[in-house]
Amino acid sequence: MKRSTDKAVTHVLNNHKGGKQLQTVWDRYEAQQPQCGFGELGVCCRHCMQGPCRIDPFGEGPDRGICGATADTIVARGLARAIAGGTASHSGHALHVAHVFKKILAGKAPDYAIQDEVKLKAVAVRSGIDVEGRPVIDVARELLDKALSEFGDKGEPLTWAASTLPLGRIKVCSELGIVPTSIDGTIAEVMHRTTYGVDADPINILLGALKCAVADYTACHIATDLSDILFGTPQPVVSKANLGVLREEAVNIALHGHNPLLSDIIAQVASEPKLIAEAKIAGATEGLNVVGICCTGNEVLMRHGIPLATSSISQEVAIMTGVLDAMVVDYQCIMPAIATVAECFHTKVITTMAIAKMPGAEHMAFNEENAVECARAIVRQGIERFTYRNPDKVCIPQESSTAIAGFSAEAIIGALAKVNADDPLKPLIDNIVAGNIRGICLFAGCNTVKVPQDHNYVEMVKKLLAENVLILATGCASSAYARHGFMTSEATKEYAGEGLTAVLTAIGEAAGLGGPLPPVLHMGSCVDNPRAVDVAVAVANKLGVDLSQLPVVASAPEAVTEKAVAIGTWAVVGGFPTHLAWYRQCWAVSW
């Protein structure tokens, strides 16, 4: 099977100098074929030590497990636990940012600051905090306390969900009994109700899973809000995307994973003259070149215009260019295989988080109280590794596309305000009503080895754009569109239908871009999906309708992770028709 539709990735896969023994995700996928049918259908259960149990999906063998659980119960338990796994990831991510926020307010993390007071106040007001005449630090403390209370035993509906969703959705959630009162408590509840001998009613289990998905939405929203407050709310920025951003004459350092806490600091120190001089002394005439991979890449692209090298599925391929001197990782979507691939090259893989180590990688513990020094030490590792580079193993592809990113909800509304300052949403709503924009589709999620990389994204978006559907993108979906050149003014002219082109041109020119807005708006990393919800909620509230009444849909056509299952599920709770490809562990249920 074709491995990737990305020309740069394909070039490196075909021409790399890592040797024949080098294996990538595509080789390992092939070696796993055929995959276990019971696992594919989600009809095996390992939740107790009497198992494993399997249900015969063909109806001849056992139709229930040892405890009596049917396929429906087992599938529901598996789905609920996948959502809990995703929610735990976003909870961990958000809580990490909150803990650093706490250190900042206590004066224990001097390298960080509140960079966006406007966002701080906006989130505080939305959360019911009085801001009038109060010092920023007081508002920040109260907001942080509120944020931290969401994770524990709050005992009342979560603020970040209740204050950001429209009344219609809150009513639906209340009626279904899926209003979470604790992020981590809800994750624990799913683990409890899906353990041996607790919840056996598949519908009831799924309602618990929906509640957990709302907790996931809450955690994502907190992560985005706090990151914006600490590092700035993204505004449109022009950069480049694809492996062609790697440079032979520079020290190339890739930031991979999901969190801005370390990556933002590295992005800052990489412009320090002293470090650039050290790189040049080491022989890198073009100094330092920091690039992003996966969603850490999206975080630093959105806020600093750091070029995006590649996405999650092709993370190994970045190493296979032979010019990546260090790959610095935090957490989530980091394949343990990168340490093995790096053995064929000079690249140093550096893990930084206490909860995410990897055999074969070097661990440099990241300490937020001493963030800049840690970041400098990591950059120096990259400079040191540059001197070990083997020129015979260099294989840099030409391809890189221009990418306009940085479309936070605030940035989109800001651009619309250039058309109508008094009523920014009016141009968007008017054009939807007039049929110039037939709808909005949010593309989110990962890249999967199960289809040629980006194939689903690219084919679907071409058809939707031609049908005048406005596209929002996050996570590795946005990476796909950035790498394939969908985030430029030219792409609007090439792919968008007449109505959509006219709208994007009017907004782009009013916003001073000198051309249309890109047809695909990069809204951030995968944790940033609530940004898209915020825009939809603003429209719904203005029209006085529920989210489910808007022509807004969501798709994760190349999904991989449990996080994608959680996000896809809260998109359903949000009332959006949702397409989550590849979650097939529900195929053998009876309903």
């Binding site: 019971f38 259908l41 063909f58 195929w587």
Partner: protein, 160 residues
Amino acid sequence: MQFLYAQTDRCLGCRSCEIACRIEHSEEKNLFSAVSQIHPPKKRLFVEQQGDRKEPVLCHHCDDSPCMAACITGSLYRDERGVIRRRDERCIGCWSCIMACPFGVVARDANLHLAVKCDRCPDREIPACVASCPTKALRLVDADMLSEERRQEYMLREEK
């Protein structure tokens, strides 16, 4: 002469071979459509267990095959590969073959009223069960090669 050989100490009892067999004998040869068929496809081999020993029990396509000898309508025949197969239109569902098979690997398709047995996947070079086995417990081997392999194992045995 090639036959399917199960190296029983490698079998984990995962039943991947059974699923692969059903998929191969389904309408679209795809797991997700196979489970949705009105009459689910039947398996032609059977993972059984006695004590701790797990083993896929499967058709040996015997040279002196009792099933074929018992088939009163001539539905069962031997193809050019030496594989015992079924002519659908001749099977009357008398189940003589089931009674005759010493391994118990002929089964009954109650929906189609046909005797069901291994056809060694005529559309494939390597049978689906063999291709699916994650531990390589199932192999397609040549009879002469296997006896050679056995002699080597015998020579390498530990003296007690």
